[in-house]
């Protein structure tokens, strides 16, 4: 019973993870990430 619950949780979360990733890419979040990541993050390096 415990194992089946665990497997069910894995499957549900795995499906949710894929769905959220696809939805995020579809609405353009990946471009926001790319823009932030290819430019120097002033906050990260302590410039402000």
């Amino acid at each position: 019973m415990f194992l089946s619950k665990r497997t069910a949780a894995q499957l549900i979360l795995f499906a949710a993870g894929i769905a959220m990733t696809v939805f995020g890419v579809w609405r353009g979040e990946a471009d926001t990430v790319l823009y932030k990541a290819i430019n120097l993050c002033l906050e990260c390096v302590g410039i402000g």
């Binding site: 990733t21 609405r27 353009g28 790319l34 990541a37 390096v45 410039i47 402000g48």
Partner: protein, 314 residues
């Protein structure tokens, strides 16, 4: 019982340092950028690396998941990042905190510092501090960038800006060394973050992975998946002699025989190496018949494995 999985587990735990080094290299693949003083700007930065690794590191091959989440949440277009959350859920379900133990460059950095032969301290008495990282995740990574926005709707990446030492270690210091323009702009915030980095370095010499235990929001997120992740620890009850050596060897203060899926377990495999009978091993997928894997199954504490009766770790 079959010997092959135990052999693979022991090999994995013995080679962990090399795997960590390889993961750090793959995460920071563009090494010539350290000399050039610029960042890698390819499309690979759309994707997140699994560990805590600043995307302002010149060599970084991907985006930092925590930085990327805050960048999306703090932008004027979005208030939540389904993309990063989805990727982290996928990584969490597959690997859990195995990522902390094997793939995180900053975890490896702290472990290298811990190898410095100076006095070591146990963190068992400081266990309540492990809850801090969940507050950091909720407060500095999610809520503050989401809610504390300026008139343009932009929120600061509070964790990256005020707490994360990786940005200084991997970004500010190497960039400032070769780029006078960046060097000239560093001010009080840089000094504050240098202080945090110094504190983490000093603590890492005395304590095992203090940042991972107490402050890392990425570790906190993966910890939520340790109970269901595909990769986890498994204890074979037919082989376990309850000697307690695994619990004594664990530097994350976990007794793997009682709670193999503990949120603090980073799957480093020190218990695998310490076990004299080969009862502890890594497993992937469903555990086999007489194995214990899962917090839902409670072990009977023995005098040897009861943490309250163990001495301090060296």
């Amino acid at each position: 019982m079959d010997k092959r999985p135990f052999g693979v587990s022991r090999l994995l735990s013995r080679c962990r340092g090399w795997i960590q080094a390889g993961a750090a290299l793959l995460t920071n693949l563009h090494l010539p950028n350290f000399l050039r003083g610029g960042l890698y700007q390819g499309p690979g930065k759309r994707l997140c690396v699994p560990g805590l690794n600043c995307y302002s590191c010149p060599a970084s091959a991907g985006a930092c998941p925590i930085g990327a989440f805050q960048a999306v949440v703090g932008s004027s277009k979005f208030h939540f990042s389904y993309y990063i959350t989805g990727l982290l859920i996928l990584l969490g379900v597959l690997l859990g905190r195995f990522i902390c133990g094997f793939l995180c460059p900053f975890g490896w950095f702290q472990e290298l510092l811990y190898k410095i032969p100076l006095a070591k301290r146990s963190t068992k008495a400081l266990y309540p501090l492990t809850w801090l990282k969940y507050l950091v995740l909720l407060g500095m990574v999610v809520l503050l960038p989401m809610l504390a926005v300026n008139q343009a709707g932009l929120g600061d990446p509070f964790f990256c800006k005020y707490l994360c030492p990786q940005g200084v270690l991997e970004g500010a210091i190497p960039l400032a060394l070769v780029n006078p323009g960046i060097r000239a702009t560093l001010g009080d915030l840089f000094l504050w973050k240098c202080g945090i980095l110094l504190a983490v370095i000093l603590c890492s010499i005395a304590f095992f992975r203090p940042f991972c235990k107490w402050l890392c929001p990425l570790g906190a997120f993966y910890a939520l998946f340790n109970q269901i992740s595909l990769v986890r620890m498994q204890v074979d009850q037919t082989k376990c002699i309850s000697c307690g050596k695994c619990a004594k060897a664990c530097k994350m203060d976990v007794d793997v025989t009682r709670t193999p899926d503990h949120t603090e377990c980073i799957r480093c495999g020190m218990c695998v190496r310490a076990c004299p009978t080969g009862a502890v091993r890594f497993c992937c997928g469903a555990p086999s018949g007489k194995a214990r894997s899962g917090a839902g199954q409670t072990a009977q504490p023995t005098p040897q494995t009861d943490p309250t009766k163990q001495g301090e770790k060296p």
